[in-house]
């Protein structure tokens, strides 16, 4: 259940009053896996006003990575001539031929790193081995990749490369707002840590063009409820606004050093998202100057086939078009122990959050008006 913290309780009460006054069903979308897990962990979905729906959007970097990109990563990790360095989240994501963990048990060198710099260090320490860094993540994570690439260039590390599938959140938000399959969104709870890098002002064109509020918020229960209250009151007052409620970490212009690193190494390029197809300019590709660090080029990797694990509706889940419980595999064939799609593997995945925190019957499904779940587990 929700934290008994007094502030949270008071804010929640005010949220209920505001929501009641709105008198219509409203939906806000969070586009950050950390918000998804924080909300579920504190039981927020169970206590939300019935007419306010919090939809989880494409905020989990592992989940939005296309299946083709995942297959390609696992294929690369399965090669004998490669040391693949990856963040831990990718280890158990299933591909067409097993996952990185199974490749590791077959003796392949898959190393979990804490930082991109650890991958670079591995390359420096083992100059006779090809070291590939699996570069996944939004703008929060991409500057770390850029820093490692810059350093590799500076030290002329020839056996280091990156398989980059970094994503940019703003083009995805725009794509969601123009997709007719997605339920209408009355406001965004914007990702706090992505915003640390990209800043708050970057959301203003979305607010102005689409007439939808953007509230940047923190991750504590009180901060989460405060952001939802803010969004609800904006609807109540028929206003749209850009609101930064995470000012201790998010500046209007973002982090200039991190942005400079990104701009030095990457340029925006079209990218494929799971379930959302190719979104223009939503990826980050290495600039010509750094293209020799591109693992796709170095290993002459071909364009991957796109497919979804049979029965898995992760693509719909991450774009807010379906709930995990609408997947026939949820909680049966697909659990965190034997996950079928990335949304169940990643700790930030929506299916994982529903499974861990939402399946005990506390969830208030009455606010999920778009599609009735086919089955709800006891």
């Amino acid at each position: 259940m929700i934290s008994t913290d007094q502030s949270a309780e008071k804010l929640l009460e005010r949220l209920r009053v505001a929501a009641q006054a709105v008198k219509e069903d409203i939906a806000f979308m969070e586009v950050c896996g950390t918000h998804t897990t924080s909300a579920f962990r504190c039981g927020l979905p169970t206590v939300m006003p019935p007419n306010v729906r919090l939809i989880s959007g494409p905020g989990c970097p592992v989940c939005v990575t296309s299946q083709g990109d995942i297959d390609r990563l696992i294929d690369l990790g399965s090669r004998q001539d490669v040391i693949l360095c990856t963040y831990g989240d990718m280890l158990r994501v299933p591909g067409r031929r097993g996952n990185l963990e199974t490749a590791r048990t077959r003796g392949r060198r898959i190393e979990v790193v804490y930082s991109s710099m650890d991958a670079l260090k591995r390359a420096i320490d083992e100059p006779d081995q090809q070291v590939v860094f699996a570069a996944v993540g939004f703008e929060t994570t991409a500057p770390a990749t850029a820093a490692a690439v810059c350093e590799a260039q500076r030290q002329n590390v020839r056996n280091f490369s990156v398989l980059a599938s970094h994503k940019r959140i703003i083009p995805a938000m725009r794509a969601l707002l123009t997709d007719e399959e997605i339920p209408s969104i009355h406001g965004f709870l914007c990702p706090g840590h992505v915003s640390v890098i990209i800043g708050s002002e970057i959301y203003r064109p979305i607010v102005d063009e689409f007439n939808v509020s953007c509230v940047i918020g923190g991750f504590e229960p009180t901060q989460l409820i405060s952001s939802l209250l803010c969004l609800t009151e904006l609807v109540l007052n028929r206003q749209t606004a850009l609101v930064n409620q995470y000012r201790e970490a998010v500046r209007p212009e973002g982090n200039p050093r991190a942005l400079a690193l990104l701009a030095e190494v990457f340029e925006p390029g079209d990218a494929r998202w799971r379930g959302m197809g190719i979104i223009p300019e939503s990826g980050l590709v290495l600039r010509d100057k750094y293209r020799h660090f591109d693992a796709v080029q170095r290993f002459e990797l071909s364009e991957p086939d796109e497919h979804e694990p049979p029965g898995c509706i992760c693509g719909k889940v991450i774009s807010g078009a379906a709930l995990p419980v609408q997947c026939k595999l949820f909680g049966r064939a697909c659990t965190p122990v034997s996950p079928i799609g990335p949304c169940m593997v990643s700790s930030e995945g929506t299916c994982s959050a529903w499974f861990k925190y939402g399946r005990s019957g506390h969830l208030n499904l009455s606010c999920t008006h778009a599609n009735e779940p086919q089955e709800v587990l006891p």
């Binding site: 890098i197 904006l234 409620q245 995470y246 050093r257």
Partner: protein, 93 residues
């Protein structure tokens, strides 16, 4: 994966720093936060400090939340009526 955690910078040497995270010493790269100094709170993500936390703004954030709480108490006093004051939107930028 986008999780970033606040930690206190306790040592610094060029672009390398050590933070105290729940009593553990953790090495971080501080190239993205050149203004951070020993004693500052910074946000850590994937081995990098990605921002120095602004203590003044942190106080303001919590003050806004307090303000919203106060409004909730006011509301509780005005039975049935809806306070349309938008105090919680103090962060509008």
């Amino acid at each position: 994966m986008c999780l970033a955690v606040p930690a206190k910078l306790i040592e610094q040497d060029g672009q390398q720093g050590i933070v105290d995270l729940h009593g553990n010493r953790l090495r971080v790269n501080t190239m993205m936060t050149p203004e951070a100094q020993t004693g500052d709170w910074i946000l850590i993500h994937a081995g990098f400090a990605i921002e120095r936390l602004d203590p003044e703004a942190a106080r303001e954030t919590w003050a806004l939340i307090k303000d919203a709480e106060q409004a909730a108490e006011d509301q509780a006093g005005q039975s049935g009526s809806v306070a349309r004051t938008n105090r919680n939107n103090g962060g509008i930028v």
